[in-house]
């Protein structure tokens, strides 16, 4: 089953400029690892060298921060689920 993953504009250069991609996987962790397998350059922007999600990037399953979900990365993705990647942006001027 493919899940829609929304890519924010700062990261689109690494996903062939796509704003959303459909990625296979039964839980959040699987979808994310399949995502970085398909778009290799995304990996260093999302994860540290030891594989932890970077502190200035959040991943949401629908409207919930995956880090706050009881099952975390193992949370199953349901039908119609949307995963959003939301990095910190600072612009204002």
């Amino acid at each position: 089953m493919a899940t829609k993953v929304l890519i924010p504009s700062p990261l689109r250069p690494y996903t062939d400029n796509l704003e959303a991609v459909e990625i296979e996987g039964s839980n959040v962790g699987e979808v994310m690892s399949n995502l970085i397998a398909r778009y290799g350059e995304l990996k260093r922007h999302l994860y540290t060298e030891d594989g932890k999600l970077r502190n200035f990037v959040n991943v949401y399953l629908n409207d919930e921060d995956v880090r706050t979900l009881p099952q975390g990365d193992s949370t199953p993705v349901g039908e119609q689920a949307v995963i959003s990647i939301v990095p910190a942006i600072a612009g204002g001027l």
Binding site: P10, D63, T68, S84, A88, I89, A90, G92
Partner: protein, 397 residues
């Protein structure tokens, strides 16, 4: 609900007329309008976000508005910083903003702070206001505003923008989450381009700034449901709004004091690394480049900016090979071919000069070329320096 003392506040007959559309709203009314007049709001930055939100806070009747900005109005600001006008170019933004605010609402007290917000002045400044609005443009100041709000117990009305997308929320309000619950740490410098480097749709900060103004007015009035605990995402290209849940993170260390935020965001380290990196790259000045042109010397000039920047203006004879192409290897081959062709026409290897807008990207390109065995020189200050010295027909952008 925010405690505001309205016992000494009264509205004149002229003010009653001015704010009559508020007064007839049951949710605002005379008491609400007095709360707005009693309210004190500090806005950090009078740029893209600060401009629209200050206009609306002034018009709504907020009684006292503080504005913090050290910058002067630049002509490139006017595409989005709608509080400033053409006649204010070159003058302090705080003065321009004050002038406009008083034109809209002469009953507003405007406090101007023509200074940069820093750890040594933030707590003292914040103490005099009820609500802080963050309209800044960099990570160190965003963490500083957040931490100072937590330490002084002030709500932080947050907005940020990038190209076509914006984020807005309310931090540190009624025991809600703060910025560090959302993002415990900033990205390393250079990873996320700023609006100055990445561009921004001029209308985008208008939308986000007006959302910030709305939240500020709601907090002062004590009505409705604020964005506290919700992160609002706006995408101008799709014209879509989404909402994500934002919770306090128990793992976030408590904020006990203000720190060195430049250090926290890795700025000094990144600057040192950049300088060290650039030091290894030989440079050429625009005067030296001009001398080569004047002497009709043959050389290879490569411009590594993006095609849309090339459209704005270019140095005659330059070859466009954008940095991303050099990064993926294709551009290195193109440079090699240019050098080979030049060697064929001149009989010996020609000098390679690389430039970008102001020198950073071309230094990056030259590092990659060096690793591929190609030596070249970086045009110090880039096309901006060239335009300034020799070619006023090239727009500064």
């Amino acid at each position: 609900m925010l405690t505001l003392d309205t016992s000494q506040v009264s509205l004149s007959r002229e003010e009653m007329e001015r704010f009559s559309r508020h007064l007839i709203l049951p949710e605002v009314g005379l008491e609400g309008q007095k709360r707005l007049k009693a309210g004190k709001v500090l806005c950090i930055g009078t740029g893209g976000l600060g401009s629209p939100l200050l206009l609306y806070l002034a018009a709504a009747g907020v009684g006292r508005i503080g504005i913090v900005d050290f910058d002067v109005v630049d002509v490139s600001n006017l595409q989005r910083q709608v509080i400033h006008g053409t006649s204010w170019v070159g003058k302090p933004k705080v003065e321009s903003a004050k002038n406009r605010i008083l034109e809209i609402n002469p009953y507003c007290q405007v406090d101007v702070y023509e200074t940069a917000l820093k750890s040594h002045n933030a707590l003292e400044l914040f103490a005099n206001y009820d609500v802080i609005v963050d309209g800044t443009d960099n990570f160190p100041t965003r963490y500083l505003v957040n931490d100072a709000c937590v330490l002084t117990g002030k709500p932080n009305v947050y907005g940020s923008i990038f190209r076509f997308e914006g984020q807005a929320t309310v931090f540190n309000y009624e025991d809600g989450p703060n910025y560090r619950d959302l993002y415990p740490e900033p990205p390393p410098p250079g990873l996320v381009p700023s609006c100055a480097e990445g561009g921004v749709l001029g209308i985008l900060p208008g939308i986000i700034g007006v959302i910030q103004a709305t939240e500020t007015v709601k907090i002062l009035l004590g009505i409705g449901t604020t964005l506290s605990g919700r992160l609002l995402l706006y995408d101008a290209l799709n014209m879509s709004f989404r909402e994500l849940k934002l919770r306090k993170n128990p793992a976030t260390p408590p904020i006990t004091e203000l720190i060195d935020y430049e250090q926290f965001c890795g700025i000094p380290r990144a600057q040192a690394a950049e300088q060290a990196g650039q030091a290894e790259i030989p440079e050429i000045t625009v005067a030296e480049l001009k001398a080569r042109f004047d002497a009709q010397q043959d050389f290879v000039l490569v411009d590594v900016r993006n095609p849309n920047e090339w459209e704005i203006g270019r140095i005659p004879g330059a070859h466009l090979i954008p940095l991303p192409q050099i990064e993926n290897g294709d551009g290195v081959d193109q440079v090699r071919k240019l050098l080979a062709a030049s060697a064929a026409r001149s009989g010996n290897g020609l000098e390679l000069i690389v430039h970008c807008k102001s020198g950073a990207r071309s230094a990056k390109a030259l590092k990659i070329l060096q690793a591929a065995g190609i030596q070249g020189k970086n045009l110090r200050g880039g096309i901006l320096a060239w335009a300034e010295a020799y070619d006023p027909s090239i727009p500064k952008y």
